[in-house]
């Protein structure tokens, strides 16, 4: 076998490439591991439904839309926080009232509904707000675009918004701070 003689710069170049590859191999898994919790926050595609302590199971959007009486709706709402100027946007979602009905939840005895988000946020709405027609929605699109699944602290300045895949919106709210982004659980009590 013929011996290959490498010049000094070639050896240096090979060493540099080798170091880069090793560095990449070491740091990529660490980077992915460090970001896993953040990615998980936005990866939740299913919403769990609980009524009076009973777990009714978890549903993704396709399954929710397949429930009897549940349909996609568009609605307008003002996006207005203390940090932003009010702006009207068009949202796409499903009416929560229809979902609860399809799941045979007895809303006549319900007092309130707690929404839980994957980042630990909880929001409580009175049951009557949910029962008001065209008031409380599980939204999944804003201005026709899916909610941003990343953390964008300045999202209010954009056409879209963060907090996806699902955001609970109460249309009757004057401000937007009662919304529940990153929705993972609906608990009727």
């Amino acid at each position: 076998m013929k011996k290959i003689k490498l010049s000094k710069p070639a050896i240096i170049a090979i060493i540099i490439v080798a170091v880069l590859i090793v560095g990449f191999a070491i740091f990529l898994p660490l980077y992915l591991k460090a970001n896993a919790p953040q990615r998980e926050l936005y990866a939740q595609e299913k919403i769990r439904f609980i009524a009076y302590g009973e777990d009714l199971g978890s549903y993704n959007l396709e399954e929710l839309l397949a429930l009897e009486g549940v349909e996609e709706k568009t609605f307008k709402d003002i996006y207005d926080t203390s940090a932003s100027e009010p702006v009207e946007k068009t949202y796409t979602g499903i009416e929560l009232k229809a979902v609860l009905k399809a799941l045979n939840i007895d809303m006549t005895i319900a007092r309130n509904i707690t929404f839980k988000a994957s980042d630990g946020l909880n929001k409580l709405y009175p049951a009557e707000d949910v029962l008001t027609p065209d008031n409380v929605f599980i939204a999944y699109k804003v201005n026709g675009i899916e909610f941003n699944k990343g953390t964008v602290t300045s999202a209010y300045t954009q056409e879209g918004e963060d907090g996806g895949p699902y955001v609970v919106i109460r249309v009757s709210d004057t401000f937007s701070q009662h919304r529940c982004k990153l929705l993972t659980e609906v608990n009727v009590g």
Binding site: A10, S84, Y156, H178
Partner: protein, 497 residues
């Protein structure tokens, strides 16, 4: 053979990449930059200029009978790069070596130059007193002759809330419970120096200043019981004797170099003290209840002195100062951990989306639980931060009151009650509105009843105050988070068993 070709191709690719990298940083024979920093009362606070980007001019002066010629940069030309806060200013040239400084009136009546003094910048003013010949200049500070002019400028800015200094980038705020003062950056820097001599050369006057290395917080603010609020969210209590310095156009804590946002004065108490107050009760096996009427202000406790039974100023232990920013999640995290926003990691800049976060410190619920205490945390319609104990949620303040009563009846050791509606009404109508008065009286009656029923220590502390503002329709409303005396001072009550 194939292997060999592949290897050669790989090597060529790598070499090309490496060469491309080197090509990105070409070796040049350009003159190294020579920067001069301007700061003080200018737009942006700090402005840095590479003198070699500016055209030089020749200057001639006589020194000990000999005519000297040199190249330099005309100071008045450099000043054209700056936007001054107001028109009437001083120039304050400071030496990096010993801090010796010269103060000169603007506009300059004769030419002054900066020149390259061996990679350092020095000043030359042929027709100015000798004290202006500062060597090795660290910076040139623009000082407004009358800081009141700056206040007028702020209040005349479009979108500035009336009578409210919202822009902390204009200077350092010094708060008392009655008012908010602003010491402009120029004025602040000048406070760190003492006048040493006045010199005249013809019509041109210049004052020599020497650094006052022992400038303490209480000398700076002129008040006692100072609390320092750092730009990073940290809070330093009992700061009267802490020494101050100056760096990059900001007042800093001399030892740590941390930039200061402002000072709260005439108090040794912050809302963070509630944590240790609760801890003492837990350690003493005493039941304890903390009531947090969100947004209830010191100005309200005073204004409603004759309308309230418990929440009136005269029954409080005085006021405490809030966190900055004085907004609920930031303040709540600090109350439940006893740590500043810098430590809790929960702080939000204006305009930043408020995520629900877990503080980077043990909360009081976890501490109580570790001491085998039964805990109940009664919240409104949602959580603002993530705590070690899941709150009991309530639809409104009446439900919060009922849940608190139930907790008392259950014999809970530590109850944390967070009322919200004073804040809501303050936002909508302003803290001194009749609507706010009615809401405060309602919450006062709840607090009175809870205090009567509870067999233990009761601590009442708010998270922030409120400022009355006027909207475009001339309607009053409230807001907070401005580092103003109205939102930073809150009442602090402790009723022992």
């Amino acid at each position: 053979m194939k292997k060999k070709i592949s290897l050669v191709v790989l090597i060529i690719l790598v070499l090309v990449s490496v060469l491309a990298l080197f090509a990105c940083s070409p070796i040049t024979n350009e003159i190294p930059p020579l920067y001069i920093v301007f700061d003080g009362d200018i737009e942006g606070g700090v402005y840095s200029i590479n003198l070699y980007d500016v055209a030089m001019t020749e200057y001639i002066y006589t020194e000990e009978g000999t005519e000297v010629t040199g190249d330099g940069w005309e100071l008045s030309k450099l000043l054209e790069y700056l936007t001054m806060r107001v028109s009437d200013n001083y120039l304050f040239i400071t030496s990096a070596t010993d801090g010796v400084s010269a103060l000169i009136e603007l506009p300059l009546t004769d030419k002054m130059y900066l020149y390259d003094d061996g990679s350092k910048v020095s000043a030359k003013g042929p027709n100015y007193p000798k004290c202006t010949g500062i060597k090795n200049i660290s910076e040139i500070t623009i000082i407004a002759k009358d800081s009141e002019d700056i206040l007028e400028t702020i209040n005349s800015l479009p979108n500035t809330k009336p009578n409210l200094i919202t822009q902390s980038d204009y200077g350092i705020k010094i708060l008392t419970s009655e008012k908010t003062d602003l010491k402009t950056f120029g004025e602040s820097k000048l406070k760190l120096f003492s006048l040493s001599a006045e010199n005249l050369m013809g019509e041109n006057k210049a004052n020599k200043y020497l650094p006052n290395n022992a400038m303490t917080v209480n000398s700076f603010t002129g008040r006692d019981n100072n609390i320092i609020y750092l730009e990073n969210g940290d809070i330093i209590k009992n700061a009267d004797n802490i020494q101050l310095g100056w760096k990059h156009g900001k007042i800093i804590v001399k030892d740590t170099k941390a930039p200061i946002l402002g000072f709260v004065t005439n108090t040794t108490r912050t809302i963070l003290d509630a944590y240790s107050e609760i801890k003492i009760s837990i350690d003493n096996n005493e039941k304890v209840m903390l009531i947090l009427p969100d947004g209830f202000s010191w100005i309200q406790a005073n204004a409603l002195e004759n309308d309230l039974d418990i929440l009136k100023a005269s029954l409080s232990k005085g006021y405490a100062s809030a966190t900055h920013r004085a907004i609920s999640p930031v303040a709540l995290a600090s109350i439940v951990t006893g740590k500043s926003p810098y430590i809790t990691g929960i702080n939000f800049k204006e305009g930043e989306s408020r995520a629900v976060l877990k503080p980077n410190a043990q909360d009081i619920f976890e501490y109580a639980t570790s001491k085998d205490k039964i805990v109940k945390y009664i919240e409104g319609t949602g959580n603002l931060i993530i705590t070690s104990v899941e709150p009991v949620y309530s639809l409104n303040d009446t439900e919060i009151y009922n849940n608190a009563k139930a907790a008392i009846n259950e014999g809970i050791d530590f109850i944390f009650v967070h009322f919200h509606e004073i804040d809501d009404v303050n936002h909508e109508y302003g803290p001194l509105s009749k609507e706010a008065k009615i809401k405060c009286m309602e919450i006062d009656s709840y607090v009175k009843d809870l205090k009567m029923q509870f067999d233990g220590k009761v601590i009442i502390v708010s998270d922030h105050g409120h400022i009355t503002l006027v909207n475009e329709n001339d309607k009053n409303y409230g807001d907070h988070g401005y580092f103003d005396h109205q939102d930073m001072y809150v009442p602090y009550f402790v009723f022992n068993k």
